[in-house]
Structures are given as C-alpha cells and as structure tokens.
C-alpha cells in the first residue's frame, strides 16, 4: 500500500514538474501574448493539479482536502485572471 502511495507521489510530482517545464518552454517559444498566456495557464495549472494529486497520499485527510481546495481556487482565479489579461492584450492589439 505504501509502495503504491509512494509510486503515485513520484509519478504525480514528476509529471507535474514536467508540465511546469512545458509551460516554460511555451512561454519561451510562442510568438505573441495570447499564445503565451495560453501556454502558461493551461500547462501550469495542469502541473499544479498533478503535484496536488501526487501529494494527496502524504497529506492526511484534512490536509488533502485543503490541497484540493487550493487547486480549485487556483483554477478559478487563474482562468478568470487570464481572461481579464487577455481582454486587455486583445484590445491593445486591435487599437494598434
């Protein structure tokens, strides 16, 4: 059981770190503001979710609940925030 939990932690955290790498590569390689925003929010939030998943077996019940709440809050906040930022960027590009 604990071997399985450790395996879940390693796979989850490793995959999460990989998605953070992917997000950074996207930021470095993508050509304009909106695509970079896309790379950042999708990849990093997926990475955070995988890390949360990997940490769940080590966090206990109330700690695990908090982890899930944190991920839900980040999803909510960063999707709305990226929408707001994208509107500003879009308007700036149209006016040029």
């Amino acid at each position: 059981m604990s071997l399985l939990a450790d395996l879940l932690t390693i796979v989850g955290v490793g995959a999460g770190a990989f998605f953070f790498l992917a997000g950074t590569v996207g930021l470095l390689r993508f050509p304009d503001t909106l695509t970079r925003l896309h790379a950042l929010t999708k990849a990093d939030n997926l990475g955070l979710g995988l890390i949360v998943l990997g940490l769940l077996p080590r966090a206990g019940l109330s700690g695990g609940l908090k982890l899930i709440v944190i991920w839900a809050l980040v999803l909510l906040a960063s999707s709305s925030a990226s929408q707001l930022i994208a509107r500003v960027a879009h308007r700036g590009e149209r006016e040029r």
């Binding site: 809050l73 909510l76 906040a77 709305s80 929408q83 707001l84």
Partner: protein, 313 residues
C-alpha cells in the same frame, strides 16, 4: 537538497530586486516588485516563519500589488519625462559604491553573528501557558510585546487620516474612488461573486487558527480587505462614505478595545496590557476579532485613497 532551493530562491529574489530598479518603465518595475514579494513569502517559509509568510502573501500578493499597479498605470503619462532626468555618471558611481559598502558590511555582519545565537525562544515558550494561546508568535504580538501591536493598529488609522486629509475641503467625508462598473456577466463580476465567501471563511479561519497555529488578525484582516476591494472594483457595492459614524467606530474599535483591555489590566493584573490569567485567552481572542475588523476596514480604505465625490441627493 534544501540548500539548492534556498540558493536558487535567493538568486531570483535579488535578480527581481535589481529589475525593480533598472526596469525601463514604472509598470515593469511594479510587476517585478509584486513577483519579488511573492517569492519573499517562499523565503519566509524556508526560515521557519510561516506567520510572517502569511502576512507577506496577504500584503504583497494582495494589497501592495493592487495599490502599486493602479498607481503605476496612472502615473504612466509622466514616465518618459522622468526617465529623461536620469542621474549622471558620477552620482551613479557614488550610489554603487555606497550600496556595495552597505551591503558588504551587512553581509559581513551576517557571517559574523555570535555563536550560539542569542534567543528568546526558550523564554517565549516558557511563558506561553499563562496566555492560553499555543502560537508563540501570537503570544509575542498580543501579550509579551503588546505595546508594539497596539501602537501599530494606531499607526494604520493615522495613515488613513493622512490619506483622507489629502481630499479638498468640499469633498471631505465623501466617497473614495470613482463609482466602478463592470460587465455583470464578465469574469470580474463572476470572481467578485464567487471569491468573497471563500475569502471571509479563510480570513476567519486564519484568525481562529492564529491562537494555536500560524495565522492571526493581521493576516486575516489583509485578506478581508482585499476581498472587500474586489467587491468594490467589480461594482457590486459602492465604496462607503467616509463621514459615516458606523465606519469610523469600526476603524477605531480594534485600538479602543485593545486600550480598554490594557487599562483594565492595571487593576486586574497589576500592569498596563497585562491579562488576568483565567481570562487571558478570551481577552486575546476578543481583541483579535476587533483588530481583524478594524485592520480590514483601515487597509481597504487606505487603498481606496482620499474621498473624491460627494453624494448628491
């Protein structure tokens, strides 16, 4: 392994600080500063100071970021003019030498700190039971060095009086900021409906946890203030008129209750700001609740700025 983390973190923090100074326009500097604040919160965790980290997150992640981003975009018009006044080479050389001297001296002092380090940790833990709280930082803030905390709540109110007094006479007592409007179906209004209940719960939780674990009135108050500002920015609620008696009583409730408990301590426990042993935890929690509300109101109003409009009946 954790040393690697510390070194990477320190290097990023210093690099961001340098960017704050050398960035080409004010907005870039302010964003670098906000990023720097969030990373410093990580550094506080590495220094085993979760209470400080919570304060840093609430203040630089929430309040200072909002304040400075608003200010930078309003001052953008004069950015270019200010950049034209860049200091001469002599001044820059002098400043570089001065800052290297100061930083080098402090760095040497850090490396030469006495060993074993002087510490009040033992004394703080030994005197924890009479206060009834389990978090030594809260005990220091509310009991061992309560004078500092009392004066600090007063300072926040004084800063607010300073901000309000910047308003022209005819606007005294009016509402701060412009009346905000937002698309009622847009993402901002959505966030302003979903986040405030969670923000209130987190603020109360931090206040309550502060008695035994990291957390406390300042952290909760700063989060409450940020939540309130979100509702105002989304146009769901208007900023309050600053002449309201209820609002003004709310602002001074924390310091007043703190003072009252402090004076009561003179004859209940033989010293100013001392707590009678049986009542210590109840009194501390009561003062913390009042402080939470006052700090939240004061910080929120500080960010809204001086009064700008009078209600026309």
């Amino acid at each position: 392994m954790s040393l690697l983390f510390d070194i990477v973190l320190s290097l990023i923090v210093v690099a961001l600080a340098v960017r704050v100074i050398v960035a080409e326009d004010g907005f870039a500097a302010v964003v670098s500063f906000a990023a720097y604040g969030l990373l410093v919160a990580l550094a506080w965790v590495r220094l085993y100071a979760a209470d400080v980290s919570l304060t840093e997150v609430a203040i630089s992640g929430g309040l200072a970021g909002m304040l400075l981003i608003g200010a930078a975009s309003r001052l953008r018009a004069i950015d270019a003019r200010a950049a034209a006044q860049r200091s001469g080479r002599g001044v820059r050389l002098f400043a570089a030498l001065l800052s290297c001297g100061v930083a080098g001296g402090l760095g040497l002092a850090v490396l030469a700190l006495p060993d074993p380090a002087p510490s009040l940790a033992e004394a703080a833990v030994a005197n924890l039971p009479p206060t009834g709280v389990g978090n030594p930082v809260t005990a220091v803030l509310m009991a061992f060095r309560a004078t500092d905390t009392l004066l600090e709540t007063v300072v926040v109110v004084l800063a607010l009086v300073g901000v309000w007094s910047l308003a022209p006479d005819r606007l005294w007592g009016g509402r701060p900021g412009a009346r905000e409007h937002a698309d009622p179906n847009g993402p901002l209004a959505f966030l302003a409906r979903v986040l405030p209940p969670i923000g209130v719960v987190v603020a109360v939780y931090l206040l309550w946890a502060g008695a035994s674990e990291p957390g406390g009135a300042f952290q909760g108050g700063a989060i409450l203030a940020a939540t309130w500002l979100l509702v105002i920015m989304a146009g769901l609620s208007d900023a309050p008129a600053t002449h309201g008696h209820g609002l003004r009583w709310l602002l001074v409730a924390g310091p007043l209750l703190f003072l009252a408990v402090g004076f009561a301590g003179i004859w209940l426990a033989d010293a100013f700001l001392a707590y009678p042993t049986d009542w210590a935890k109840a009194l501390i929690v009561a003062v913390e609740v009042a402080k939470l509300l006052s700090v939240a109101a004061a910080l929120g109003l500080l960010l809204l700025g001086p009064p700008r409009r009078i209600d026309t009946p």
